[in-house]
Symmetry: D2
Subunit: 333 residues, 4 copies
């Protein structure tokens, strides 16, 4: 049976690009790729069996953590991250074939992409109007040339956006990923037009709970911890559970619990795998001191950087300490 | 001369409501209120002298910190927060007078507001289409009934949104703050329709550097610290600079520095005023250990809750320790 | 067979008083009490089977830890503390029956006791000479009246001290515990003559390794940890292994390792029993970070004060965290 | 006027050797050296003007801190350490000229020296009796050959010890420092007979309060801090006051306060000089959190090892932080 993986749609976004990378790495290039309306829908698809996995963005080098993903993972509560991948965020300006830069009086894209390309558009499209779209790919899709023999109607599953449908577009160019320009037959007029170059988005592959991926020595463990109180020192106490066992954190983000200003939970990536003793003991420690702790998975880190572990924090050191404990427990010394 | 205060426009948003609250508290009810296109424009208005102050949202009890504000304050680097206020976030559904709920086939609002009212719209407007707008107030404004004697054209300063201009609206209802419905002559069909009730947004009043507000005993100090390294323990070391002097944090949020995944700066609200010794010494400590530290102001906390200070962290205790140091320095003991 | 317990001799010292207390508490009042020349000899008696237990002083409320005991326990390395008791340190001035205070021109005692009674002797025996003795009890024993029918020779096992033998004493009074005055037939001229009143010495009962005493909820665990380095922070790191698991320390004393100035090991009493999860995990943590860790026993605390354990550090909380770990390990979440 | 320096007498002890070293280093070789009966007497000599300085042992590489000195410095409360020196502890066995090892049936020394040479005496003087003396030097002095023309009486200021006076010695050999053997005309039969070789004692030069010695970059600061409570974490809190400012500790010793078991004060040597900002701020911090803090001096470290200071803890870094504070205080940013 063909596997089916969801991604935050529409088609041809950076999220589909991330899914393509992940499927290639896992040898599932023939899997079905299913665009999903939003994160909740993707997660529902896992629960109801429609999907075997779902890819969602979790962190961006410019914007930081992706709140919708972090909160959806937390509130769902029964999903597991099994892989991650990094995608370079590069926008192109594209138009129907034959369009010149000088022809563009109005352009469309998602508001976030508009904000990230404002420097380039101010310099290269002065005076042009901006029309918001619900996604970068939607802006491209709606601009797509009619296929030969078309009756002038967009594809049946296409949702018209505020920017207008294909037969009635009020803009001449879209800002989107290269993947979208290619898929919708648009011509790229300018590449890598983001104001900040080098931006990277990190995506994770999520599935229903099951066996953890094997530890590789270059792993990451994701969790969400809610502090037991908002008193000073509660965050310090949380961090000490990691530092005492020599577990480094590669990401920590505060998210409101939604119960009022000043009440936080922390979304954390720790270096290492649950199968490693120092990570397991740190998590057990956090379990004790936190009001609530959610484990979201241990999985290989995208770049494969091996985690440095000091000699006194290795599995061997933990095992020796445990053996020593057993010995003094049984013979009194 | 009349004072002028900017706010994140357009008119009739929660930000204007926050500004109205702040002006009332400060006795400046006759000040001019100037809608600004975005945070940068508001801050530029301070620098070029057009504005005497600017109000921006900094934190929301549901969404967390407002990235655009946090990042703009950080990158601007020469502004100071002098006050804060809290606004309850309540959305209404409104329409031109006479419209019934059953007449609504399409509605418009900002994507964030759409996300926050999805539960209500699914139950009460099943099948209705959503058109994105650039702001909740813009959705209301564009729906506004034509004034008597109007020539059918919108106000000169109105920017048409993707959702259509007043003379050509393709939707029958808007989701917006009560302030916007009232200002644009729309009828409220439903109140407080957010999926989460009790949401609060915190706004700050920003101005050019100058004298700090006097300490009140219920103050907050805002700063942004970039860690000296991404090594484990750098965050712990930062937090210890506060805890060693008994300074509590009421908010800590990680923000990417934009230089790559895993590099963070922390936006922090500390309890207390720079004029207090424990806060000053903690900030000096952070100045030493951080790669970069930005002070964004000490100002009265919105709810007026007095900060608890342990006896050994009072100004008196610091002064006694300083006097003791002077004594042993001068006479050797 | 009669049990035999050693104590730091000679007879009638505070150590014998401590042993008597311990034997009463354990229902072994008929056990043999064997005076030992020094701590090493007492410990050798355990190893060679001559003794079933040995009592040694470990801490004094005035002088602090007893170096000879701490170092002997550490260097021996195969002994276990199974009980402790507290003895009030009270000295008496005693003499042969009929002696008056005014008759005393010279008195004898151990140098430590001399130092602790210097205030009293200066006021009450002005001008009197002090002769050092090898122990307080030896000073008393050598002064003992000859038994009726005696041939003028001291008991065969008595070692003459520098202060003179029984037949040739050059002093008229001894400063010693009440037990010694009583045993040697001396008359008490003044009681509780120490300059500091309320002094207490803590003694421990030591035996060969075996089963640990059952936990009582009011226990103490003794250990010796040598730091992995003399770098700053090594002690802090050690203490954090306890604080992270909520284990309080009731005593911590630095002892040189003997390898040079500035190299320390720490003799520590922690509150709690090895059978408790928080204590076991803290000890395992110290085992990892310390260069060397020696467990010296878990045993009931002398005063029976129950140890306070916060809810997140109870055995139940540890067990829940462990169960949670097992669950996420097996089903992935 | 000739300067007068006291030392813990009698003459010819390691303490006099330490004083000789200190006087040579300071160019005061012609100063008078005054033996004092005990530490209190030496300190009284400073207060009443008889002495310009006093040398006392503070730490031994085998035995650890010297309780009598630590406690006397603490309880006196108005003295200042201005220098330190290290002396190698080497004992000799000496006797009247012409004595052979085989002639020795009894030997004398201070009980501490006896304990430290027990291995050697067991091997080389099997069966010999030990007579306690009040000091190693007293054992040597009392054994000194009568000077030519002597009337058989010891020097007028000599206090007879329990071991017998010169005309009536009951032992043939003394264990003492080489300085004592030399001074009293005794012949050295064996050198460096301590069971542990390489032992070092650290001595400090104490005087009345006055200007601190100039900082050299290789300094030490000595203090005594009493914890504000015996609760868990009080010691951790104390240590953090140092670690937060990057101040390393080279010695930390617990001493009972004398008020009961489990109540401690800590005698501490910190690396650095009070004139350095990080040390001053750490001490001020300890002053705030401790129940009681006593400064005992900043002075050059004996070996001259320069203290490593991280870039963010230098005086420059503190000055920059202070300047930054002044700036944001005055202009608001």
């Amino acid at each position: 049976m063909t596997l089916a993986f969801g991604y935050l749609g529409p088609e041809a976004t950076f999220t589909e690009a991330a899914l393509i990378q992940l499927l290639e790495a896992r040898g599932h290039t023939d899997a079905e790729r299913v665009p999903m309306h939003n994160t909740e829908a993707a997660f529902d698809g896992l629960v109801n069996g429609r999907l075997d996995g779902a890819v969602v963005p979790i962190e961006n080098s410019v914007e930081g953590g992706v709140p919708a993903t972090l909160d959806a993972l937390t509130s769902h509560g029964h999903l597991q991250i099994i892989a991650e991948t990094l995608v370079h965020v590069k926008f192109v300006l594209c138009a129907r074939p034959g369009t010149q830069l000088g022809d563009i009086t109005t352009y469309s894209t998602h508001p976030h992409a508009e904000a990230q390309t404002r420097g380039w558009t101010a310099r290269n499209l002065p005076g042009a109007h901006y029309l918001p779209a619900s996604s970068t790919a939607a802006a491209a899709r709606d601009l797509a040339p009619l296929p030969p023999g078309s009756d002038g109607q967009p594809a049946a599953d296409a949702q018209p956006t505020g920017a207008g449908s294909a037969g009635d577009v009020r803009y001449q160019a879209a800002i989107c990923p290269a993947l979208a320009a290619e898929r919708y037959g648009l011509e790229v007029l300018a590449e890598d037009i983001g104001d900040i170059t080098g931006a990277v988005t990190r995506f994770v592959l999520v599935k229903l709970p099951g066996a953890l991926p094997e530890p590789t020595g270059a792993d990451k463990t994701t969790l969400v911890a809610q502090l037991a109180s908002d008193r000073a020192g509660a965050l310090l106490e949380l961090l000490e559970q990691f530092s005492t066992r020599g577990v480094n954190l590669s990401r920590i983000e505060s998210r409101p619990t939604g119960d009022g200003l000043g009440l936080y939970q922390f979304s954390i990536d720790a270096q290492g795998h649950l199968a490693e003793a120092r990570v397991a003991e740190a998590l057990a420690g956090v379990h004790r001191v936190a009001r609530r702790l959610q484990f979201l998975g241990s999985y290989p880190e995208a770049t494969g950087s091996r985690v440095f572990v000091a000699p006194h924090n290795t599995d061997e050191s933990f095992a020796e300490a445990q053996a020593w404990l057993e010995r003094i427990r049984s013979v009194g010394l």
